[in-house]
């Protein structure tokens, strides 16, 4: 036993005495290399991916509807065809569910510019298109809002100067981005009324700095994914032809 201990000691002393040459950093070189099609794919990796890819492809490539045009979230300054399509489709899909559960209608739907993740191209809309448009697993929620949250919401929409998509709300702002007029479901805003605003859970929890959803009167979770609502809507629609309209305008018009 003692002998072993001695050997350990010997080890330690030898290692500590053993001087390695000291290395100093003399040169740094940095660059970026493009991953291009001139690189040969490693077949072992590719064949590992193949079963996953094949399973996905079967689901993703099924056609849901036809798009008349190509639509992007940057098509308009205050509202866009693609944004309007998304919130209008969500209203149509979610309202019957909400009404059945609560007896109320969804007064308006609100998403953000950032919710629209990609473009819809002219031609066939597949499940893959919808996954790219809405890759997140967010669920639709309905929030009961009163004054002053409705005011904060309108301020947010005026001041962010972005085409944040909304349905059933109409906004007019002046050249200083100050609110001129607002209606919900065609009626002036009633300061005593509770409004049922549909959005998704990411925004409800303060995403994109939407701080006005909380605290609130109540929250209803529909357990209905935004993506699934869009897929269900598109399954019913043969063709989509959304338009930029007058739901959010600046006066005088440029």
């Amino acid at each position: 036993m003692r002998f072993t201990f001695l050997i350990y000691l010997l080890y330690i002393s030898l290692f500590t005495n053993c001087k390695q040459p000291e290395y100093h950093l003399t040169k740094i070189e940095g660059k970026q290399i493009g991953v291009t099609d001139s690189l040969k794919a490693i077949s072992e990796i590719d064949s590992f991916i193949q079963p996953y890819r094949a399973h996905l492809k079967k689901d993703m490539d099924s056609v849901l509807a036809y798009s008349v045009g190509t639509y992007s979230r940057d098509d308009g300054e205050f509202n866009t065809a693609i944004g309007n399509f998304m919130v209008d489709a969500v209203h149509e899909q979610a309202n019957p569910i909400f009404k059945r559960r609560t007896g109320h209608d969804i007064d308006m739907v609100l998403f953000t510019y950032g919710t629209v993740r990609t473009i819809i191209s002219k031609g066939d809309i597949t499940i893959r298109t919808v996954y790219e448009l809405m890759p997140f697993e967010n669920n639709i929620v309905v929030v009961a809002l009163k004054q002053p949250q409705i005011d904060s919401m309108l301020q947010y929409l005026c001041k962010t100067k972005k085409a944040n998509p909304f349905s059933k709300l109409k906004l007019t702002i002046d050249k200083n981005y100050d609110l001129v007029n607002a209606t919900i479901s065609g009626k002036p805003i009633d300061n005593n009324k509770t409004y049922y605003v549909a959005t998704h859970d990411y925004l409800y929890n303060g995403g994109d700095n939407m701080t006005f959803f909380q605290p609130n009167d109540s929250l209803y979770k529909l357990n209905y994914k935004v993506r699934n609502a869009l897929i269900d809507y598109l399954k019913k629609a043969d063709t989509i032809n959304p338009v930029m309209d007058d739901r959010y305008i600046q006066i005088p018009r440029k």
Partner: protein, 305 residues
């Protein structure tokens, strides 16, 4: 019997070592050079397949299988290579929605990634979803400024790690972005965000002073720079407000840089900040050359970008 075998073996090795020790002493005057290669990606966002030929932005670019062959050829050229990722491995293609990140981690393991830090989107399936995929990752997650102690991720990440490659000690730590307002609180649960600058100072002290690292690398998901938000913390700020970091490998802002950025740190020493866009379009490569020749090292470090 066994113990005796061991003792015999041990003494034999000792003899060898002592000889080797003499050998090393006699060698130590002869200068030699070493090269460490750091390869890196960021914000790959589940982009496993290359972009198609009709893609409007990156036709025929990217793809894990192609990246693998690039990495393999660089490793053949210099086996003293580390492969790192700066986060947002998840979210962006249906592969993530369908398989929850399993394929991403499995492929990164096949490519022999050495370490990664976490990005905000790596919490998109919730902290439980991230935890569930950990068995598929054969590399370390290095997070220095997320305190996971009240979460399921507790003990499954490291605040720093020291890699010894060809005798060179490389210390790596990781900085994550503030999750509040960016990630649903239901998804990150009780993860606590710690100040990145204070954390960086603590980590560099541990790595430089306690661990005597020759090289310190920060994997960051803070973002390169925010033009519209000059007060927001970013990699360029971390670089200039700290010392002893040799390289910050960044992510989050999906920044394409024409070349790595040279930044002067708090001691006026030059270091590098790099980021290579997103979606696996590019691979970053930084080579560090070491020399034991005192005459060469007396001239300081030259940076070629």
């Amino acid at each position: 019997m066994k113990r005796r075998d061991f003792i015999q073996q041990a003494s034999a090795t000792t003899a060898l070592i002592s000889l080797g020790g003499i050998g090393l002493h006699s060698f130590s005057n002869k200068p030699s050079a070493k090269q460490i290669t750091i390869l890196h990606t960021n914000d790959v966002h589940s982009h496993i397949d290359p972009f198609g030929p009709d893609d409007g932005k990156y036709p025929n670019m990217g793809g894990v299988a192609r990246r693998a062959s690039l990495i393999e050829s660089i490793r053949r050229e210099n086996p003293n290579t580390l492969l790192l990722d700066a986060g947002d491995i998840f979210q962006g293609t249906p592969y993530f929605n369908y398989y929850g990140g399993e394929l991403e981690f499995k492929l990164m393991s096949m490519l022999k990634y050495d370490a990664a830090t976490l990005g905000n989107h790596d919490f998109d399936a919730g902290i439980d979803g991230l935890y569930a995929q950990l068995p598929h990752a054969k590399f370390d997650f290095i997070c220095s400024n997320y305190d996971f102690s009240n979460t399921i991720m507790d003990t499954h990440t490291k605040p720093y790690k020291v890699f010894t490659v060809d005798g060179i000690k490389i210390g790596i730590f990781g900085l994550g972005i503030k999750l509040k307002g960016l990630v649903d609180s239901d998804n990150y649960k009780e993860t606590t965000y710690l100040d990145p600058i204070e954390t960086a100072q603590e980590m560099t002290r541990i790595l430089k002073t306690e661990n005597a690292c020759d090289l310190i690398i920060c994997l960051s998901h803070l973002g390169y720079h925010y033009k519209k938000e000059p007060n927001k913390l970013c990699d360029l700020k971390v670089a200039s407000l700290t010392k002893d970091i040799d390289l910050i490998i960044g992510g989050h802002t999906h920044t394409f840089l024409p070349k790595p950025t040279v930044v002067k740190n708090s001691e006026e020493k030059s270091m590098l900040v790099n980021q290579v866009g997103w979606h696996g379009i590019n691979l970053g490569r930084i080579d560090f050359y070491f020399d034991s020749d005192k005459n060469k090292s007396a001239n300081g470090t030259s940076i070629i970008v």
